[in-house]
């Protein structure tokens, strides 16, 4: 199936008074990979949901090859030839890979029964043909890693043989070679005449993959054109609505102090973490790198007392027993977790409550919250962040992803930790918020806080960290310092070939 063009015009959609789309337009032609970019809250996800039929627009129209789409439902979108790999994934954890992959197009036998064996065989064949045969078709999706799920989500969209393929941030959990696999699929799809709509935060991915780009800001398209004519600075300027000098702040000129804040000796949480030792100095930013799932999460959770571990941790000269997050917080260790929705925030509570909940002991008298102290605390936290919100009583669920992340930062900063743990805190966050988070990290360090952060974005490690440790299989494989911190060196140490083979 091929369509000659996809035209979106005047799309509007509001959710409870908040306008997510305010007359967005987009035109893409067959055979092209079209990038859609914009900050968090610019309306990209809403546009994707409208296109895929999950959300009905208030007004506006969508045409495919000149044919206007009459109805907005997942079924109508599928019949029109639109398939989507969703950012939040449309996979059902309790169903098998095969059932998810072939949902709605299952091989049937008599009386409405699905032939499970044929289903599994067909799924295995399809996954093999797509080069994703490492995924076992018979397993429930619950058992797959995030990266595998993301790949399966893409495979599922491709299996529908669509004329329009929408990929909403498909690379966030993928390894470099998996990204290459994905790009190959998308290029082949476009070469066969399909329209690929690609949404990503990573500008370098957009530049390498797409032919044309449309920038959304505040629910409208603010610029569109061939990627070759759009310089990176121009794209960022369009996204933010103002020119940006640089994303990463200047490196500090003074060296970090020599005082060791946290001394970690032989920290283990088998099987994921196997004997990690390091020390973190006051005001220092230590980056943690390595391939996904090499024990980084276990390291952070152990330090936060969220999982059982052995070894010795000395904070400010005192040995601490990290048996519970409470103990970590008391010792001055705070964590910004990976999944803000499930681990970081109480989505139905207000911005105010989400910030003060981390410091209740400090702002309470006799077990009752002292509102005056609370106001002071919130003012302290909010002053450092530009959270875009109606007021402090607004539910955090109604905020955009970047702003939610800032609320977590606000809570954690209000706790005034000596050691701040940040686990992939900028994942899925737009450039503007990223820049703000980086600035905050620097400010915290200047005021004496130390930061240990893990990132899947190597550029972040290179630009932010004073030192980098690369984890492999639960152990530290490399300590990098100063000029040793380069992208190629970190990647080389991560994949384990050593410096000689991979530096090109």
């Amino acid at each position: 199936m091929t369509a000659t063009s996809l035209e979106i015009s005047g799309l509007r959609k509001s959710f409870g008074g908040v306008e997510a789309l305010r007359g967005a337009n987009l035109t893409a032609l067959g055979g092209e990979t079209h990038a859609l970019i914009g900050e968090n809250g610019a309306g990209k996800s809403t546009l994707v949901k409208v296109l895929s039929g999950a959300v009905r627009p208030d007004s506006g129209e969508i045409s495919l090859g000149g044919q206007r789409l009459a109805a907005f439902s997942p079924l109508a979108a599928r019949e029109a030839g639109i398939a989507t790999a969703f950012q939040e994934l449309s996979l059902i954890p309790d169903l098998t890979v095969a059932s998810n992959l072939l949902y709605g197009i299952e091989p049937k036998v008599r009386a409405g029964r699905i032939d499970r064996r044929a289903l599994r065989q067909q799924a295995t064949t399809l996954l093999e043909a797509l080069g994703a045969d490492g995924i076992d078709a018979g397993r429930p999706v619950r058992e797959l890693s995030l990266g595998q799920r993301q790949i399966l989500e893409v495979c599922k969209a491709l299996t529908r043989e669509p004329s329009v393929l929408i990929l909403d941030e498909p690379t966030s959990a993928l390894l470099p070679e998996q990204v290459q696999w994905l790009f190959g699929k998308v290029r082949a799809f476009a070469a066969a005449g399909g329209i690929a709509l690609f949404i990503s935060h990573r500008l370098e991915e957009i530049e390498s993959l797409s032919d044309r780009v449309t920038v959304l800001r505040g629910g409208v398209d603010v610029g569109s054109g061939p990627i070759a004519e759009m310089a990176e600075a121009r794209l960022v300027e369009l996204m933010l609505g103002r020119p940006v000098d640089r994303v990463f702040p200047e490196s500090p000129t003074e060296p970090a102090s020599e005082e060791v804040v946290c001394e970690i000796t032989d920290l283990s949480a088998p099987p994921r973490l196997r004997g990690v030792s390091m020390s973190i100095r006051r005001g220092e930013i230590v980056g943690v790198g390595g391939l996904q799932g090499q024990g980084q999460l276990a390291l952070f959770l152990s330090l936060f007392g969220a999982i059982r571990s052995s070894g010795k941790v000395v904070m400010l000269g005192k040995t601490v027993r990290l048996r519970h997050p409470r103990a970590a917080l008391d010792a001055g260790i705070a964590l910004i977790p990976e999944d803000r929705a499930s681990e970081g925030l109480c989505m139905t509570l207000s911005v105010r409550d989400n910030i003060s909940v981390g410091s209740l002991a400090r702002i309470s008298d006799w077990g009752f919250v002292n509102r005056a102290k609370e106001r002071k605390l919130i003012a302290f936290a909010v002053a450092q962040l530009n959270v875009v919100m109606r007021n402090l009583r607004q539910e955090v669920a109604a905020l955009s992803g970047g702003n939610q992340q800032k609320v977590i930062l606000g809570r954690v900063l209000a706790q005034r930790p000596s050691l701040l743990l940040m686990y992939d805190a900028t994942r899925g966050v737009d450039v503007g918020t990223k820049a703000e988070i980086y600035r905050l990290m620097r400010e915290q360090c200047e005021s004496g806080t130390s930061i240990l952060f893990y990132s899947t974005d190597v550029a972040e490690l290179v630009n932010m960290a004073d030192r980098v440790v690369v984890l492999h299989d639960g152990q530290i494989r490399a300590h990098l310092d100063g000029a040793e911190i380069t992208e190629s060196r970190i990647v080389a140490e991560s994949v384990g070939g050593g410096a000689s083979r991979h530096v090109s």
Partner: protein, 332 residues
């Protein structure tokens, strides 16, 4: 940086393979079989006549039939992360109608039974429509409809009694090919479950209960499936009502109430997740058998009958604890 082609082998691309192929997450669904086997064994040792005495199997299974029917429906609803308390009302109103207005003789009983079944489906549809198209909790919706239909039952038949058609009583008793009809019914229910399990309908219920917003993105017709699930639950409750009324040979305006908690308990003992997405009607029916074996076990052990309720509560809490431990372990 260059990527070596070797990195693109399946293992390299997809990461490591899992260690376990059969998920421990499925263990709860097997536990009811263990409970049933253990209790049956004890009863067979202590007081075998309660199980293999003349007519004992048929009598025991005639208690299992209505609970198994209701559990089947309750499982479908609970797979979607719902619950149906109104089955109590359906059974009561069916029973009241059968004991008063509907007591024809011979084959003419069939259209009247059909009317009861249709009523059950309609009640289920109303539940499903309200639940699918409003944001009201299934618990609250069906709590209300339970009360409403119990009220109607009291209007139809103010006190226990009435007369039940002899043809109906005869139809539910006796053997076919030397096996009690009650056993046949449970067997047929298991066959029906085998079929249902392999349909898209069931995948859809699992999808809805597993993650409703993802199911929507997947293209599952959520409202339609919810209505179907509650309608099926109403239908099965109506069938249970016919069986109970025929067996007790009288109508009862609140006879359905005892089935509400019993069905929820049996489904949970069977290992179905109350938070949706995971469950098996076969296991629920096993749970029903386990639940009903407890009073027999208590009797066999010569304990006073209050121990029956005590142990029913105890097995429920053990099952729930076990399920939740397995759940958290398998999700880690």
């Amino acid at each position: 940086m260059s990527v070596s082609p070797g990195a693109l082998t399946p293992r390299g691309l997809m990461g490591r393979r899992p260690r376990l192929r059969v998920g421990v997450g499925d263990l709860p669904l097997l536990m009811a079989y263990v409970y049933v086997a253990a209790m049956t064994l004890v009863v067979l040792i202590v007081s075998p006549a309660l199980i293999d005495g003349p007519g004992a199997i048929g009598a025991n299974f005639s208690l299992v039939v209505p609970l198994a029917l209701v559990c089947f429906g309750q499982t479908l609803v609970m797979l979607t992360r719902g619950i149906d308390l109104s089955i109590g009302g359906v059974i009561s109103v069916g029973s009241a109608l059968l004991a008063t207005h509907l007591n024809a003789k011979g084959w003419t009983i069939l259209p009247e039974l059909l009317a009861i079944v249709v009523l059950g489906v309609l009640i289920g549809c109303v539940n499903g429509l309200v639940i699918a198209y409003t944001s009201i909790q299934p618990f609250i919706v069906t709590l209300a409809t339970w009360s409403i239909w119990d009220g109607v039952a009291f209007g139809v038949l103010p006190v226990e009694g009435g007369t039940v058609s002899q043809s109906l009583i005869n139809a539910t008793n006796g053997d076919i090919l030397g096996i009690p009809k009650s056993v046949w019914i449970v067997f047929v229910l298991l066959l029906i479950w085998r079929w249902v399990r392999s349909t898209r309908f069931l995948d859809d219920l699992v999808a809805i209960g597993s993650d409703e917003s993802r199911a929507r993105l997947l293209g599952v017709q959520i409202s339609k499936r919810k209505v179907q699930a509650y309608a099926a639950c109403g239908l099965l409750a109506a069938l249970a009502s016919i069986w109970v009324t025929a067996q007790t040979q009288s109508g009862s305006p609140d006879g359905g109430d005892q089935f509400i908690l019993a069905s929820v308990a049996a489904v949970v003992i069977g290992g179905t997740n109350i938070f949706g997405g995971k469950g098996s009607a076969a296991s629920s029916m096993m749970g029903a058998i386990a639940f009903l074996l407890i009073p027999i076990l208590v009797f066999a052990l010569n304990l006073t009958s209050f121990w029956g309720i005590f142990f029913q509560g105890l097995i429920l809490i053990i099952a729930v604890t076990f399920n939740s431990i397995i759940q958290t372990r398998s999700q880690r």
